[in-house]
């Protein structure tokens, strides 16, 4: 059965299948259904075959599993070679990767070997038509991403590329409800990789859980360049404290060294969907909005009435963060 599937590159995180891989399986299912093709996956590693059942619950039909002791930890060359081999053998039309450090390391290497198109950090994927002069591709992958520092949204296609490949950040695609009765076929594949294909020695691996958990936060108070002074940042922290909120920020704030990248919301940071997002002094470039526009409620505070953030805010307050935020803190304290 090689009906040019939609394939997902599976990653593990803390000895289980990474969330981003499950999100991609859900997206792959949504892409595969109108194409009338199966969803497949490629899993490379060691000692993981007992975790693969969950892929079926989210819509994966077949997973090609390559296990070897030497693959217990990710390194670029063997992972890329094996995945490229599976792609050559089963010829999917689309391959999706998580835009994790490992996914963004291995996907370009695979794309180079296969000489196929690859689009990084897509925020949307769909099937559509592409025509150039008399040539029409009826059902090709639309790879949609902010580009150019987030100033524009680009739709990228690679119609002649077999396959089309894309990376997607964790949290961007929604996970659908799992169906535990759905089964995945686990097909073991041989690991035909020489020792010389392991040029990287892994000496030490240090896992550090981020103290910042934007993904599951119900409320996020987020700082932009309108919060560039220590006193304004202090007020933002105070608001987050009283509301029991997590602190987020725009990329500019990370670039300026005011907060670490764990806090960054947006296309190249974390995608969030909290109940309440309070954007303090954030102008609202596409790059940022791509990561928070689906928040249930958005309050925007900005001294510039024309800031793009107001276009997506449910509540807009024109004013200085130093002035508005204390009023919010007082109002909340008075109520509580």
């Amino acid at each position: 059965m090689t009906q040019k599937s939609v394939m997902v590159f599976i990653e593990q995180s803390d000895a289980k299948i990474a969330d981003v891989s499950l999100e991609l399986v859900c997206r792959a299912k949504a892409l595969a259904d109108p194409l009338n093709v199966p969803v497949e996956a490629v899993a490379v590693g060691y000692g993981m075959s007992d975790q693969l059942d969950v892929l079926g619950h989210y819509g994966c039909d077949t997973v090609y599993c390559v296990e070897d002791k030497r693959l217990a930890h990710f390194t670029s060359v063997p992972y890329a070679k094996i995945a490229a081999g599976i792609i050559k053998k089963y010829k999917p039309q689309i391959v999706l990767f998580g835009a994790t450090t490992n996914g963004r390391d291995v996907a370009p290497r695979i794309a180079s070997e296969l000489k196929c198109g690859l689009t990084a950090d897509c925020t949307e994927l769909k099937i559509g038509e592409y025509r150039i002069k008399d040539h029409v591709w009826k059902k090709t992958l639309m790879q949609i991403r902010p580009a150019f520092g987030g100033n524009i949204i680009a739709t990228i296609v690679s119609p002649e590329s077999m396959p089309s490949m894309a990376t997607v950040r964790e949290g961007v695609m929604k996970m659908s409800r799992p169906d535990p009765s759905r089964k995945v076929k686990i097909q073991k594949e041989k690991c035909e990789i020489a020792d010389s294909d392991f040029p990287t020695e892994v000496i030490e691996v240090v896992r550090k859980e981020s103290k910042v958990d934007l993904k599951s936060a119900k409320i996020i108070v987020s700082a932009g360049m309108g919060v560039s002074t220590p006193e304004a940042m202090q007020k933002v922290r105070e608001l987050a404290d009283v509301l029991g909120a997590e602190i987020g920020c725009s990329r500019a704030v990370v670039d300026a060294g005011l907060l670490c990248s764990d806090h960054q919301v947006g296309q190249t940071g974390t995608t969030v969907r909290p109940n309440l997002y309070i954007a303090c002094g954030i102008s609202g470039q596409i790059q940022h909005r791509a990561g928070m526009a689906e928040s249930k409620r958005i309050i925007a505070i900005n001294s510039d009435p024309n800031a793009p953030i107001f276009e997506i805010a449910h509540y807009g307050i024109v004013g200085d963060v130093n002035d508005v935020v204390p009023k919010m803190i007082n109002a909340y304290k008075a109520k509580a």
Binding site: T75, P108, E113, N151, I153, S158, G316, A331, Y332, K335
Partner: protein, 288 residues
């Protein structure tokens, strides 16, 4: 010892200054419309190469692909300490995606000849793809270490680095040759040296199809005399694999998407209006 290093750099539009005239109708970027700078993390890559040279000796060659104007970033490399600089410039390179770019870079690197380390920035601020480094490594058939946040040890045969990961970091080691992509946290790039600025501010590019690797001898005294300019022929590249014709990805469309919400409400910046908003959010159980 002494390592031969090649640093891949890119001139990028300063994406904080984008206007509506910036995009051409074919979806590619009108770079002439924007202030052009050296990609910030490429400065980190250059800095790391210069530090390695200062520690164990060697040579640093900087290379960029771009329009003739891209000589500006090569001058920036000379100002900071690069020994030699190469410009890949040819209309047939234009419109390249990451695959076609890495192909051209691979051809040029092979023309330079022997090398131990290739360094590039983790990613460029115009595309944010982080793809050219790994793709160049694959085309050269060498190993890659990406997201390097610290170079720990530069040995005779191997290099040890720290890679930053989504959660934590890892320490990895590879033999030469290997390609590294350097992240901003790895170092603090130096400023241009005044003496070198005086020496190189008027340096121009010159077509040079007869590259002589002995030019890179570490003991040579005369310094860099010109910016070497190579085209498709000089690097013996297949023109079909360069530029737009070698790029599987196409830009279908570019839009300035306006995301708007249905029910946007303006709240006055007053005590009472803000109190009203907070009370409503509490009532709706949005906040506790």
């Amino acid at each position: 010892m002494g390592l031969k290093m090649i640093v891949l750099v890119k001139q990028v539009p300063d994406t904080h200054h984008v206007t509506t005239d910036t995009m051409k109708s074919d979806g590619t970027v009108n770079r002439a419309d924007l202030p052009a700078i050296m990609n910030p993390e490429d400065l980190n890559a250059l800095e790391e190469a210069l530090r390695i040279k200062e520690t164990v000796g060697g040579t640093v060659t900087a290379m960029t692909m771009g329009p003739p104007k891209a000589v500006e970033v090569l001058r920036e490399c000379l100002y900071r300490g690069a020994d030699d600089v190469i410009l890949l410039s040819d209309r047939r390179f234009a419109g390249a995606d990451t695959l076609a770019t890495s192909y051209a870079l691979k051809c040029a690197i092979e023309k330079v000849g022997k090398y131990d380390l290739i360094l590039c920035g983790r990613q460029a601020i115009d595309g944010d793809t982080a793809q050219v480094g790994p793709q160049t490594a694959e085309k050269l058939g060498i190993n890659q270490l990406t997201y390097v946040s610290k170079v720990i040890e530069v040995g005779k045969k191997k290099i040890t680095v720290r890679r930053s990961m989504d959660r934590g970091y890892e320490v990895v080691r590879s033999a030469y040759p290997v390609l590294l992509t350097i992240a901003a946290e790895a170092n603090e790039p130096r400023s241009p040296s005044v003496k070198r600025v005086m020496a190189y501010k008027n340096i121009t590019s010159q077509r040079d199809d007869f590259y002589d690797a002995s030019y890179l001898h570490p003991n040579r005294k005369e310094g860099c005399r010109c910016i070497r300019e190579w085209n498709v022929e000089s690097i013996e590249a297949d023109p079909k694999l360069c530029g737009i014709s070698g790029s599987p990805t196409k830009v279908k469309k570019i839009e300035n998407v306006v995301l708007t919400t249905q029910d946007s409400k303006q709240i006055e910046n007053t005590e009472s209006a803000i109190r009203g908003l907070i009370q409503q959010l509490i009532k709706e159980h949005i906040i506790g």
